[in-house]
Subunit: 169 residues, 2 copies
Protein backbone atom coordinates (compact mmCIF):
# COMPACT_ATOMS: atom_id res chain seq x y z
CA UNK A 1 0.00 0.00 0.00
CA UNK A 2 1.87 3.04 -1.29
CA UNK A 3 1.68 6.42 0.31
CA UNK A 4 -0.94 8.78 -1.13
CA UNK A 5 -0.18 12.43 -0.55
CA UNK A 6 -3.61 13.56 -1.71
CA UNK A 7 -5.09 11.92 1.37
CA UNK A 8 -2.95 14.19 3.52
CA UNK A 9 -4.45 17.20 1.82
CA UNK A 10 -7.90 16.42 3.15
CA UNK A 11 -10.67 18.22 1.31
CA UNK A 12 -8.10 20.15 -0.75
CA UNK A 13 -7.24 16.91 -2.49
CA UNK A 14 -10.78 16.07 -3.50
CA UNK A 15 -10.70 17.68 -6.95
CA UNK A 16 -7.78 15.60 -8.09
CA UNK A 17 -9.07 12.45 -6.44
CA UNK A 18 -12.39 12.74 -8.24
CA UNK A 19 -10.66 13.01 -11.59
CA UNK A 20 -8.14 10.31 -10.73
CA UNK A 21 -10.91 7.87 -9.85
CA UNK A 22 -12.97 8.77 -12.90
CA UNK A 23 -9.90 8.28 -15.10
CA UNK A 24 -9.29 4.85 -13.58
CA UNK A 25 -12.83 3.85 -14.53
CA UNK A 26 -12.44 5.19 -18.04
CA UNK A 27 -9.08 3.57 -18.76
CA UNK A 28 -10.08 0.22 -17.36
CA UNK A 29 -13.41 0.27 -19.15
CA UNK A 30 -11.54 0.90 -22.40
CA UNK A 31 -9.28 -2.06 -21.58
CA UNK A 32 -12.30 -4.21 -20.88
CA UNK A 33 -13.86 -3.33 -24.23
CA UNK A 34 -10.63 -4.03 -26.10
CA UNK A 35 -10.03 -7.32 -24.37
CA UNK A 36 -13.50 -8.40 -25.41
CA UNK A 37 -13.16 -7.19 -28.98
CA UNK A 38 -15.66 -4.35 -28.73
CA UNK A 39 -14.94 -1.36 -30.94
CA UNK A 40 -16.49 1.29 -28.71
CA UNK A 41 -15.27 3.95 -26.27
CA UNK A 42 -16.34 4.25 -22.62
CA UNK A 43 -18.15 7.56 -22.98
CA UNK A 44 -20.34 6.25 -25.78
CA UNK A 45 -22.45 4.31 -23.30
CA UNK A 46 -24.42 7.37 -22.21
CA UNK A 47 -25.10 8.33 -25.83
CA UNK A 48 -26.40 4.84 -26.60
CA UNK A 49 -28.69 5.01 -23.56
CA UNK A 50 -29.87 8.49 -24.39
CA UNK A 51 -30.70 7.71 -28.02
CA UNK A 52 -32.30 4.43 -27.02
CA UNK A 53 -34.73 6.39 -24.91
CA UNK A 54 -35.29 9.49 -27.01
CA UNK A 55 -34.93 8.00 -30.52
CA UNK A 56 -33.54 11.17 -32.10
CA UNK A 57 -31.92 14.29 -30.70
CA UNK A 58 -29.89 17.26 -31.89
CA UNK A 59 -26.37 18.05 -30.74
CA UNK A 60 -27.62 20.84 -28.54
CA UNK A 61 -30.25 18.65 -26.91
CA UNK A 62 -27.67 15.99 -26.10
CA UNK A 63 -25.28 18.57 -24.67
CA UNK A 64 -28.01 19.90 -22.39
CA UNK A 65 -29.13 16.45 -21.31
CA UNK A 66 -25.70 15.36 -20.16
CA UNK A 67 -24.52 18.80 -19.01
CA UNK A 68 -21.55 19.06 -21.31
CA UNK A 69 -20.50 21.73 -23.80
CA UNK A 70 -21.72 21.27 -27.36
CA UNK A 71 -18.20 20.97 -28.83
CA UNK A 72 -17.61 18.01 -26.51
CA UNK A 73 -20.73 16.35 -27.92
CA UNK A 74 -19.72 17.09 -31.51
CA UNK A 75 -16.33 15.43 -31.05
CA UNK A 76 -17.92 12.42 -29.37
CA UNK A 77 -20.62 12.05 -32.02
CA UNK A 78 -18.17 12.42 -34.91
CA UNK A 79 -16.22 9.43 -33.65
CA UNK A 80 -19.37 7.38 -33.29
CA UNK A 81 -20.37 8.44 -36.82
CA UNK A 82 -16.97 7.41 -38.16
CA UNK A 83 -17.59 3.94 -36.75
CA UNK A 84 -21.06 3.85 -38.23
CA UNK A 85 -23.05 3.92 -34.99
CA UNK A 86 -24.87 7.19 -35.60
CA UNK A 87 -27.18 8.41 -38.35
CA UNK A 88 -27.66 12.10 -38.95
CA UNK A 89 -30.64 13.65 -40.76
CA UNK A 90 -31.13 17.33 -41.41
CA UNK A 91 -34.41 18.80 -40.22
CA UNK A 92 -36.57 19.83 -43.17
CA UNK A 93 -38.04 22.84 -41.40
CA UNK A 94 -35.05 24.20 -39.50
CA UNK A 95 -31.99 23.67 -41.67
CA UNK A 96 -29.64 24.37 -38.77
CA UNK A 97 -30.69 21.21 -36.96
CA UNK A 98 -29.50 17.67 -37.52
CA UNK A 99 -31.32 14.82 -35.86
CA UNK A 100 -29.00 12.15 -34.53
CA UNK A 101 -30.12 8.59 -33.95
CA UNK A 102 -28.69 5.11 -33.53
CA UNK A 103 -27.83 3.46 -36.84
CA UNK A 104 -29.06 0.02 -37.87
CA UNK A 105 -25.61 -1.33 -37.01
CA UNK A 106 -25.82 0.19 -33.53
CA UNK A 107 -29.26 -1.30 -32.89
CA UNK A 108 -28.16 -4.65 -34.18
CA UNK A 109 -25.20 -4.71 -31.81
CA UNK A 110 -27.16 -3.59 -28.78
CA UNK A 111 -28.01 -7.05 -27.43
CA UNK A 112 -24.33 -7.97 -27.47
CA UNK A 113 -23.30 -4.69 -25.86
CA UNK A 114 -25.93 -5.04 -23.15
CA UNK A 115 -24.24 -8.15 -21.80
CA UNK A 116 -20.93 -6.30 -21.37
CA UNK A 117 -22.60 -3.25 -19.90
CA UNK A 118 -24.37 -5.48 -17.40
CA UNK A 119 -21.01 -6.88 -16.27
CA UNK A 120 -19.54 -3.39 -15.94
CA UNK A 121 -22.57 -2.27 -14.01
CA UNK A 122 -22.26 -5.16 -11.58
CA UNK A 123 -18.53 -4.53 -11.17
CA UNK A 124 -19.30 -0.91 -10.38
CA UNK A 125 -21.82 -1.81 -7.69
CA UNK A 126 -19.30 -4.24 -6.30
CA UNK A 127 -16.67 -1.51 -6.16
CA UNK A 128 -19.09 0.88 -4.46
CA UNK A 129 -19.81 -1.69 -1.75
CA UNK A 130 -23.32 -2.45 -3.03
CA UNK A 131 -24.73 0.80 -1.79
CA UNK A 132 -25.23 4.18 -3.43
CA UNK A 133 -23.78 6.44 -0.75
CA UNK A 134 -21.13 7.81 -3.08
CA UNK A 135 -23.87 8.77 -5.53
CA UNK A 136 -25.86 10.40 -2.78
CA UNK A 137 -22.94 12.47 -1.56
CA UNK A 138 -22.14 13.41 -5.13
CA UNK A 139 -25.72 14.51 -5.65
CA UNK A 140 -25.59 16.74 -2.58
CA UNK A 141 -22.54 18.54 -3.87
CA UNK A 142 -24.01 18.86 -7.35
CA UNK A 143 -27.10 20.44 -5.87
CA UNK A 144 -25.16 22.95 -3.80
CA UNK A 145 -23.15 23.75 -6.89
CA UNK A 146 -26.33 24.70 -8.69
CA UNK A 147 -27.27 27.08 -5.89
CA UNK A 148 -23.93 28.88 -6.03
CA UNK A 149 -20.70 28.09 -7.87
CA UNK A 150 -17.40 27.29 -6.22
CA UNK A 151 -16.05 30.43 -7.75
CA UNK A 152 -18.51 32.78 -6.15
CA UNK A 153 -18.35 31.04 -2.80
CA UNK A 154 -14.57 31.47 -2.72
CA UNK A 155 -14.82 35.11 -3.80
CA UNK A 156 -17.39 35.79 -1.12
CA UNK A 157 -15.27 34.15 1.58
CA UNK A 158 -12.22 36.05 0.39
CA UNK A 159 -14.05 39.34 0.83
CA UNK A 160 -15.48 38.61 4.26
CA UNK A 161 -12.06 37.44 5.40
CA UNK A 162 -10.43 40.58 4.07
CA UNK A 163 -12.61 43.20 5.77
CA UNK A 164 -12.31 42.36 9.47
CA UNK A 165 -8.70 41.42 8.95
CA UNK A 166 -5.59 43.46 8.36
CA UNK A 167 -5.83 45.81 5.38
CA UNK A 168 -2.08 45.38 5.07
CA UNK A 169 0.21 44.64 2.12
Amino acid sequence: MKEDFLLNMGSDGVTDRLKRLSDLFVYQTRDFYRNNGLDIEPNWHMIFRLLQEREKMTVTEIAEAIHHSHPAVIKLINKMKAKGYIDSVQDTEDLRKYYLSLSAKAIQELPKLERYWAALSEALMDLMGNHLRLLEELREVEERFEEMGFNQRAEKILNTNRLPDSPSE
Copy 2:
Protein backbone atom coordinates in the same frame (compact mmCIF):
# COMPACT_ATOMS: atom_id res chain seq x y z
CA MET B 1 -33.30 23.11 -12.72
CA LYS B 2 -32.48 21.45 -16.02
CA GLU B 3 -32.85 17.76 -16.62
CA ASP B 4 -29.74 15.66 -16.01
CA PHE B 5 -29.75 12.38 -17.88
CA LEU B 6 -26.74 11.04 -16.00
CA LEU B 7 -28.90 10.88 -12.87
CA ASN B 8 -31.22 8.52 -14.71
CA MET B 9 -28.34 6.20 -15.39
CA GLY B 10 -27.80 5.51 -11.71
CA SER B 11 -24.44 4.04 -10.89
CA ASP B 12 -23.62 3.78 -14.60
CA GLY B 13 -23.43 7.55 -14.69
CA VAL B 14 -20.96 7.86 -11.85
CA THR B 15 -17.78 7.89 -13.95
CA ASP B 16 -18.85 10.87 -15.95
CA ARG B 17 -20.30 12.67 -12.95
CA LEU B 18 -17.03 12.35 -11.05
CA LYS B 19 -15.12 13.89 -13.93
CA ARG B 20 -17.77 16.53 -14.56
CA LEU B 21 -17.63 17.66 -10.94
CA SER B 22 -13.85 17.62 -10.85
CA ASP B 23 -13.76 19.69 -14.03
CA LEU B 24 -16.15 22.23 -12.52
CA PHE B 25 -13.77 22.65 -9.60
CA VAL B 26 -10.77 22.99 -11.87
CA TYR B 27 -12.30 25.51 -14.25
CA GLN B 28 -13.75 27.66 -11.51
CA THR B 29 -10.53 27.55 -9.52
CA ARG B 30 -8.67 28.77 -12.62
CA ASP B 31 -11.22 31.58 -12.94
CA PHE B 32 -10.75 32.48 -9.29
CA TYR B 33 -6.96 32.68 -9.72
CA ARG B 34 -7.27 34.83 -12.84
CA ASN B 35 -9.79 37.18 -11.29
CA ASN B 36 -7.39 37.72 -8.43
CA GLY B 37 -4.35 38.20 -10.63
CA LEU B 38 -2.59 34.98 -9.63
CA ASP B 39 -0.46 33.43 -12.35
CA ILE B 40 -0.84 29.79 -11.24
CA GLU B 41 -2.83 26.76 -12.35
CA PRO B 42 -5.21 24.75 -10.13
CA ASN B 43 -3.19 21.54 -10.13
CA TRP B 44 -0.04 23.32 -8.91
CA HIS B 45 -1.46 23.51 -5.40
CA MET B 46 -0.59 19.89 -4.59
CA ILE B 47 2.97 20.37 -5.88
CA PHE B 48 3.44 23.44 -3.69
CA ARG B 49 2.18 21.50 -0.68
CA LEU B 50 4.30 18.48 -1.46
CA LEU B 51 7.52 20.45 -1.92
CA GLN B 52 6.76 22.55 1.13
CA GLU B 53 6.77 19.37 3.17
CA ARG B 54 9.51 17.37 1.50
CA GLU B 55 11.89 20.20 0.42
CA LYS B 56 13.18 18.39 -2.65
CA MET B 57 11.93 15.47 -4.71
CA THR B 58 12.54 13.83 -8.07
CA VAL B 59 9.93 13.52 -10.81
CA THR B 60 9.45 9.86 -10.02
CA GLU B 61 8.99 10.48 -6.32
CA ILE B 62 6.35 13.11 -7.01
CA ALA B 63 4.55 10.82 -9.47
CA GLU B 64 4.41 8.07 -6.87
CA ALA B 65 3.29 10.40 -4.10
CA ILE B 66 0.28 11.70 -6.00
CA HIS B 67 -0.44 8.48 -7.92
CA HIS B 68 -0.05 9.89 -11.39
CA SER B 69 2.08 8.83 -14.35
CA HIS B 70 5.52 10.40 -14.60
CA PRO B 71 4.83 12.12 -17.95
CA ALA B 72 1.92 13.90 -16.27
CA VAL B 73 4.30 15.20 -13.60
CA ILE B 74 6.90 16.27 -16.16
CA LYS B 75 4.37 18.36 -18.06
CA LEU B 76 3.10 19.94 -14.87
CA ILE B 77 6.60 20.70 -13.56
CA ASN B 78 7.78 22.13 -16.88
CA LYS B 79 5.02 24.72 -16.75
CA MET B 80 5.88 25.63 -13.19
CA LYS B 81 9.54 25.90 -14.21
CA ALA B 82 8.64 28.17 -17.12
CA LYS B 83 6.96 30.50 -14.64
CA GLY B 84 9.97 30.36 -12.32
CA TYR B 85 8.35 28.50 -9.44
CA ILE B 86 10.58 25.42 -9.53
CA ASP B 87 14.34 24.92 -9.25
CA SER B 88 15.95 21.78 -10.61
CA VAL B 89 19.35 20.47 -9.54
CA GLN B 90 21.01 17.37 -10.94
CA ASP B 91 22.11 14.80 -8.38
CA THR B 92 25.90 14.57 -8.25
CA GLU B 93 25.93 10.84 -7.60
CA ASP B 94 23.14 9.61 -9.84
CA LEU B 95 23.19 11.73 -13.00
CA ARG B 96 19.75 10.50 -14.02
CA LYS B 97 18.07 12.25 -11.12
CA TYR B 98 17.06 15.88 -10.83
CA TYR B 99 15.97 17.24 -7.49
CA LEU B 100 13.05 19.61 -7.76
CA SER B 101 12.31 22.25 -5.14
CA LEU B 102 10.37 25.47 -4.71
CA SER B 103 12.25 28.50 -6.06
CA ALA B 104 12.91 31.66 -4.06
CA LYS B 105 10.10 33.31 -6.01
CA ALA B 106 7.71 30.51 -5.04
CA ILE B 107 8.62 30.74 -1.36
CA GLN B 108 8.30 34.48 -1.41
CA GLU B 109 4.80 34.27 -2.89
CA LEU B 110 3.61 31.57 -0.52
CA PRO B 111 2.10 33.88 2.14
CA LYS B 112 0.01 35.58 -0.52
CA LEU B 113 -1.06 32.29 -2.07
CA GLU B 114 -1.99 30.86 1.33
CA ARG B 115 -4.73 33.45 1.73
CA TYR B 116 -6.35 32.44 -1.55
CA TRP B 117 -5.97 28.75 -0.84
CA ALA B 118 -7.64 29.28 2.52
CA ALA B 119 -10.63 30.85 0.78
CA LEU B 120 -10.84 28.00 -1.71
CA SER B 121 -10.58 25.51 1.10
CA GLU B 122 -13.44 27.14 2.98
CA ALA B 123 -15.54 27.30 -0.17
CA LEU B 124 -14.94 23.61 -0.70
CA MET B 125 -16.05 22.69 2.82
CA ASP B 126 -19.08 24.88 2.29
CA LEU B 127 -19.91 23.04 -0.91
CA MET B 128 -19.47 19.66 0.78
CA GLY B 129 -21.93 20.66 3.49
CA ASN B 130 -19.26 21.01 6.18
CA HIS B 131 -18.75 17.30 6.51
CA LEU B 132 -16.33 14.87 4.89
CA ARG B 133 -18.73 12.15 3.85
CA LEU B 134 -17.89 12.49 0.17
CA LEU B 135 -14.22 12.00 1.06
CA GLU B 136 -15.06 8.96 3.13
CA GLU B 137 -17.09 7.34 0.37
CA LEU B 138 -14.35 8.16 -2.09
CA ARG B 139 -11.80 6.54 0.18
CA GLU B 140 -13.86 3.37 0.40
CA VAL B 141 -13.96 3.02 -3.36
CA GLU B 142 -10.26 3.81 -3.67
CA GLU B 143 -9.50 1.07 -1.19
CA ARG B 144 -11.60 -1.51 -2.96
CA PHE B 145 -9.94 -0.48 -6.18
CA GLU B 146 -6.56 -1.35 -4.68
CA GLU B 147 -7.83 -4.81 -3.77
CA MET B 148 -8.99 -5.52 -7.29
CA GLY B 149 -9.34 -3.31 -10.35
CA PHE B 150 -12.61 -2.49 -12.09
CA ASN B 151 -11.31 -4.31 -15.08
CA GLN B 152 -10.77 -7.62 -13.38
CA ARG B 153 -14.01 -7.41 -11.46
CA ALA B 154 -15.94 -6.93 -14.69
CA GLU B 155 -14.06 -9.74 -16.40
CA LYS B 156 -14.78 -12.06 -13.49
CA ILE B 157 -18.46 -11.20 -13.48
CA LEU B 158 -18.63 -11.66 -17.24
CA ASN B 159 -17.26 -15.18 -16.91
CA THR B 160 -19.52 -16.26 -14.06
CA ASN B 161 -22.51 -14.88 -15.94
CA ARG B 162 -21.52 -16.71 -19.08
CA LEU B 163 -21.19 -20.24 -17.71
CA PRO B 164 -24.58 -20.92 -16.14
CA ASP B 165 -26.25 -18.98 -18.96
CA SER B 166 -26.93 -19.76 -22.56
CA PRO B 167 -23.82 -20.62 -24.59
CA SER B 168 -25.70 -19.24 -27.58
CA GLU B 169 -24.75 -16.76 -30.32
